[in-house]
């Protein structure tokens, strides 16, 4: 709908008519008694009264609404002192105008008239004019329509963002209007769930309207924002995204998904390509990659984890999350140092209108958030969360319940302050922190069965983010950050202790420039720098903690051979990168080549194990990786898009693997290549299907030495190989008419080879089939219902064929079959969620009830054996469990 904003000026007094001889005349007042003295010369007006203080009459609303103007002639009696004694209407313009004019005139103040040189009362005629005037606009009006390129059908829900000029969303007719756009050239971004974000520029003139028509090609079956699961190619000059395959889900959708307890970031577990994590692990396994190979960024700041221990909660308050995007592979050159997927969390812009906040509590934790604009340019936000499950359980169960069950203790907090430097320039300072601790112990009469374990991970980040949009529409973003991670593991299994502590100081910088070199060529250049200094100490068995690929059974004690090491690792990576977006064939074809150059420097404080008083010799190494990447997207038709990507990735060895005793200080970077092809089909504007096939290969993975007498400082060797291949599918209905949902399915085979020429075995986290179906429906009146069903193949496990007796430790030891050739039975679970929201003034109260595992199915989560390995059983996971919660939002 086009709307022209007119501004009406207030009524204007036609002061020029005051005392004008032709419009008004001074009439000297008669002397008292009203008689004239005979022969007395008539008094003479020697000075006309002069209006000294004008009062503007309010323009009557009724008359302004009717568009009427008028003038009222008043007769004003002015005293000898200049005050208005009386006002009368001489020529009426209607009651509303008359009353307004009279009331205003009564407040006039005059310089008195003089008669014969002396101040004297007089009466004058005064014309009060009400003039309806249109204000001269100093801004432009921007209106237009967004249509589908092929069909010319209007597209609703498209975001039109004008840099420093506001934003609008297209209506059902595809039209939009922005009333006050500052004149000049501005970047215009067109984005939406069904679109690949695009950017152009428009020139606006004051008091003029620019009417534009944008014909765009909706994203293929892949939805980039909030839509599907993964394949999204972002293109367009300058491209806003570089991920060929990704799934982004808006916070509004994510928090309504059953099984997430309203936690936005837990939606990642439901996306295609993601294996179902082991119960309580919270680990992300994407496209068969190890959990540590999937990197997590929050607004460009790398964090060590997405979820708290147990996977119960994410580390960021949902109120601050705008969206979360998972790229399982094939992402662009802007990111690296990981062989697996990429999770990017985008936080919500702090509100400018008024203060907002929320308070939420459920069985697990309590959380609060508050955001407020301090000035027109300064906004702040803060949030925090702390678990109280331990307190509830201790109150409801025995006091020593924690001795038997690892109850997670966690907290997290975020603080942000955003300042708008100029219309296109902003800076934000923020910090986030998170902490986890789980502890348990098993007190047994049997010394070998006494167990204690305490795990903790704390991290903090402080960052700044500077963003500026240049006149040509290009954008610059700089995010420096500093942080610290501290993780500890302390355990004792029988008489075998295990201790590991890692303290890391992290410095990072991400700087990005996005612009356009030509109409069909966008470019992104940036720098991804990261410096980490880690101090590590570990003692205990080489076999604890367990690694991927270890042949073991759940609960098996580590070997009782122990050692100790402490070491320091410094790793420096400065990775400049560049990407281009070449748009061809009327932007139907986008070619996105990218190149990332990643020189790495690392130092390890000890090259060989400490031996007596022999001084330690450190190791310094430098390496450089060149990772080319290419993505292609082709819009075959308005409904079908195709995509492909190929790229190289690498990851430096983990500091904990660089121990001279427990690892290998000479490990070098692991490498991977990722290839994918996909297609997306948009059946309707809100209904899409997409599919992606992929293959990844990795090499140089750190694995345990299989030698009986490995060389000194080579407990790990970098000769592991990996490969994963498969496909994922997503059928998605975007939010519309109160309903959204998707069905995602992944079929993946992930394998590892521990020695050259050895057998490829199933990866410990391999899950052949993962199916997730979920839906949520708004019933109206604040009621909402949702359901989720999940199916996942069980993880591989190594079968136990028998046992032998260890006479020294009085324990049986398993005799294993071929590694990872059996599996835990499949996981099947259904969850439902009921929500009711009440509007209370400006606030909203939400109550929800989630029932997890509604069928109370005993899902096997792990294989366990009797102590002599003659009997086999399964640890089963979550039984039927209702979880209720409340959230009050303002």
């Amino acid at each position: 709908m086009r709307r022209i904003a007119f501004r009406y000026l207030a009524p204007l007094l036609a002061a020029t008519s005051v005392l004008a001889p032709q419009a008004a005349s001074a009439q000297p007042s008669a002397p008292p008694g009203g008689a004239k003295a005979a022969g007395t010369p008539a008094p003479k007006l020697t000075r006309a009264p002069k209006l000294a203080q004008f009062v503007e009459a309010p323009y009557p609303d009724s008359e302004r609404a009717a568009g009427r103007a008028a003038s009222v002639v008043l007769q004003i009696a002015i005293s000898a002192a200049g005050h208005v004694d009386e006002v009368a209407v001489a020529e009426s313009a209607g009651p509303a105008f008359d009353q307004a004019a009279v009331e205003a005139a009564r407040k006039f103040v005059f310089e008195p008239a003089e008669i014969d040189g002396k101040p004297a009362p007089v009466k004058i005629a005064y014309r009060y004019e009400f003039v309806l005037r249109v204000e001269q606009k100093t801004t432009a009006i921007f209106s237009g329509v967004v249509r589908e390129r092929a069909t010319k059908r209007p597209i609703a829900g498209v975001h039109i963002d004008v840099a420093d000029g506001g934003s609008a969303i297209t209506g059902d007719d595809g039209r939009f209007t922005l009333d006050d756009v500052p004149p000049g050239k501005h970047a215009v971004t067109i984005s939406g769930d069904t679109l690949t974000a695009q950017q152009t520029s428009e020139t606006f003139e004051a008091a003029k309207e620019l009417d534009a028509t944008y014909d765009v090609t909706p994203k293929g079956p892949v939805v980039e924002a909030g839509d599907d699961d993964d394949l999204e190619i972002v293109v367009t000059p300058p491209p806003l995204e570089k991920k060929v395959v990704s799934t982004e889900v808006s916070a509004d959708e994510a928090k309504r998904i059953p099984g997430t307890q309203g936690d936005v970031l837990k939606v990642v577990e439901n996306l295609p390509g993601v294996a179902r994590g082991a119960v309580g692990s919270g680990a992300l396994v994407v496209w068969g990659a190890a959990p540590e190979d999937t990197r997590v960024y929050i607004d460009g700041v790398r964090v060590p984890r997405l979820y708290h221990d147990g996977g119960l909660r994410s580390v960021v308050h949902s109120d601050l999350v705008k969206s979360v995007e998972l790229a399982p592979g094939g992402y662009g050159a802007a990111y690296g140092r990981g062989l697996g997927g990429l999770v990017t969390v985008q936080t919500r812009a702090l509100e400018t209108d008024t203060y907002h906040g929320s308070v939420a509590v459920d069985l697990l934790d309590a959380a609060v958030s508050a955001r407020a604009p301090i000035t027109d340019k300064l906004r702040v936000g803060i949030s925090g969360r702390r678990s109280h499950l331990d307190g509830i359980l201790k109150a409801a169960a025995s006091k020593d319940v924690e001795d038997y069950f690892p109850i997670p203790h966690y907290y997290d907090g975020q603080a942000r302050a955003a300042y708008q430097i100029g219309p296109r320039e902003s800076v934000e300072f923020g910090g986030l922190l998170s902490g986890d601790r789980t502890s348990r112990s098993v007190a047994a009469a049997n010394l070998a069965e006494r167990k204690t374990e305490t795990r903790a991970l704390h991290f903090q980040r402080v960052y700044a983010r500077y963003e500026k949009q240049l006149d040509d529409g290009a954008t610059v973003s700089v995010v420096p950050y500093v942080g610290a991670d501290a993780s500890t593991l302390e355990s004792r299994f029988g008489v075998v202790p295990t201790n590991q502590s890692i303290t890391t100081t992290l410095y990072g910088l991400r700087a990005i420039y996005r612009g356009r070199l030509a109409d069909q060529l966008g470019i992104t250049v940036g720098l991804d720098a990261e410096v980490s200094q880690a101090t590590l100490r570990r003692s205990g068995s080489v076999s604890a903690p367990a690694r991927e690929g270890d042949i073991r059974v759940f609960g098996q004690p580590p070997t009782d051979q122990i050692n100790v090491d402490d070491w320091k690792v410094t790793q420096i990576g400065l990775a400049p990168y560049a990407e281009a977006d070449i748009a061809l064939f009327k932007e139907r074809l986008h070619i996105l080549p990218g190149l990332r150059f990643d020189p790495q420097v690392s130092s390890v404080s000890r090259r060989t194990p400490l031996d007596g008083d022999t001084p330690s010799i450190g190791r310094f190494a430098q390496d450089a990786a060149v990772d080319p990447r290419l993505a292609i997207r082709f819009a075959a038709t308005a409904q079908i898009s195709l995509r492909a990507a190929y790229g190289f990735y690498h990851r430096s060895p983990l500091p904990e693997d660089l121990s001279a005793v427990f690892g290998n200080p000479s490990l070098t970077a692991a490498r991977a290549s990722q290839a994918l092809v996909g297609a997306a089909f948009r059946l309707t504007p809100s209904f899409s299907i997409e599919t992606t096939a992929f293959r990844t290969e990795s090499s140089g993975l750190a694995v345990r030495s299989t030698l009986s007498s490995p060389l000194l400082a080579e407990a790990l060797v970098g000769m592991g190989q990996g490969r994963a291949f498969g496909a994922q599918f997503l059928l998605r209905k975007e939010l519309g008419a109160g309903f959204f949902g998707w069905v995602s399915y992944s079929i993946v085979r992930s394998e590892r080879q521990d020695v050259p020429e050895g057998r490829y075995r199933a990866f410990d986290y391999d899950q052949t089939h993962v199916l997730t179906a979920l839906a949520s429906y708004d019933l109206g009146r604040g009621f909402e219902v949702g359901a989720r069903i999940r199916f996942a193949t069980g993880f591989p496990r190594t079968p136990v064929l028998g046992a032998y007796y260890d006479g020294r430790r009085d324990a049986y030891q398993p005799i294993f079959g071929e590694e990872n050739t059996s599996r835990i039975p499949a996981f099947v679970q259904g969850d439902v969620r009921f929500t009711k929201r009440w509007k209370i003034g400006r606030s909203e109260l939400e109550a929800y009830l989630e029932v997890q595992n509604v069928t109370n199915r005993k899902n096997p989560e792990e294989v366990v054996y009797s102590s002599d390995y003659r009997q086999k059983g399964f640890i089963t996971g979550l039984p039927i469990l209702p979880v209720a919660g409340l959230k009050w939002s303002l």
């Binding site: 119960v279 009782d560 007498s709 030891q813 009797s866």
Partner: protein, 329 residues
């Protein structure tokens, strides 16, 4: 309150999952089974002769004739192997096995290169390569020569492994520390059961070991429950002792010589009846207490039964005694 309990139970299942109730094999000896192995001396230097004894029993009690095939295994286990020995040791015969004989006892000589293969000395290098990694010590600073015992049973072969503690030098210590260790370390002695009693109010009933001359077993009623206590010699100071010995060890964390005390584990076995715990014991921190209790429930069927208390210390020492109990109606 029921609802709260239900909620708590469910919550615990979320966090720890729900563990199945597997039937653990009771410490009941009903068929031929190797219950324990012992080396004498408990700690031997390379080249030193050792005598090896097995506690082999069935439902009738300890057996003196046993189809046990003894062998030392000289194959070092892979670093990634969680088990105590190389899987290659679990074979009837191999070039990595040094046969020691057949029966409930055997004897042999510790390999001269035991400290190089299984101890703190770096193994011989392969041509063109530096010497390999030495073996890590256990918590007590010990290294062990693998021993495997194969039992020929009608149902098939079963394997038992053991480690004979090797008297080696220290790993990772300074010369001064090594010298001090050589002078202050006392090799391990096998523990032994000093007394075995039924704890009762007022007085304890001592059970003489079956090996004692004229030993009479304890008489109990069928189905009776009693507390049994196995005790060992209290050990004061560093020296030879058949209890929880104190010894000098090299602490790899502090890289210093420290004084430590053995923990003692007691395995309880019986031909009938049931113990509350298959194993009990005293940790290093509890070392001042030289006994451990367990609750035994006599079988419901009258007859004679055999009980064993097997002591194991931290340094690979093992000792046991056999007791007879008369179960009456």
């Amino acid at each position: 309150m029921v609802a709260v309990s239900r909620l708590v139970a469910l919550s615990l299942c979320i966090l720890a999952a729900c563990k199945p109730d597997l039937v653990e094999s009771a410490p009941q000896v009903t068929e031929p089974r190797l219950l324990a192995l012992r080396s004498e001396p408990a700690e031997a230097a390379p080249g030193q002769a050792v005598s090896l004894t097995a506690l082999y029993a069935d439902g009738s009690g300890a057996l003196t004739d046993a189809p046990l095939d003894w062998a030392l295994c000289v194959d070092r286990k892979p670093l990634a192997e969680l088990g105590p020995v190389s899987p290659r040791c679990l074979a009837p015969s191999s070039d990595i096995l040094i046969a020691l004989g057949v029966g409930v006892a055997a004897s042999g000589t510790m390999p001269k290169d035991a400290c190089r293969n299984f101890g703190p000395e770096r193994p011989d290098p392969k041509p063109g390569e530096p010497a390999g990694r030495p073996v890590d010590p256990d918590q007590s600073g010990g290294f062990y020569q693998p021993l495997r015992v194969r039992a020929h049973l009608a149902t098939g072969d079963t394997y038992t492994v053991f480690g004979v503690r090797i008297a080696c030098s220290l790993s990772g210590a300074t010369q001064e520390q090594r010298a001090q260790f050589e002078t202050s370390y006392v090799r391990n002695t096998n523990p032994s059961v000093a007394s075995f009693v039924r704890v009762a109010a007022g007085h304890d009933d001592a059970l003489p070991p079956l090996s004692a001359a004229g030993a009479e077993g304890l008489t109990v009623q069928a189905g009776a429950t009693m507390t049994l206590r196995a005790a060992w010699a209290p050990c004061a100071g560093i020296g030879v002792c058949t209890g929880s010995e104190q010894y000098v060890a090299f602490d790899t964390a502090s890289r210093a010589l420290v004084s430590r005390r053995e923990s003692i584990a007691v395995a309880w076995l019986a031909t009938a009846g049931a113990f509350a715990e298959p194993s009990t014991g005293r940790s290093e921190a509890e070392g001042a207490v030289a006994s451990s209790d367990n609750v035994f429930t006599a079988p419901s069927v009258p007859g004679d039964i055999t009980l064993w208390a097997v002591l194991r210390d931290d340094r690979g020492g093992v000792g046991w005694e056999t007791y007879r109990v008369h179960v009456i109606p």
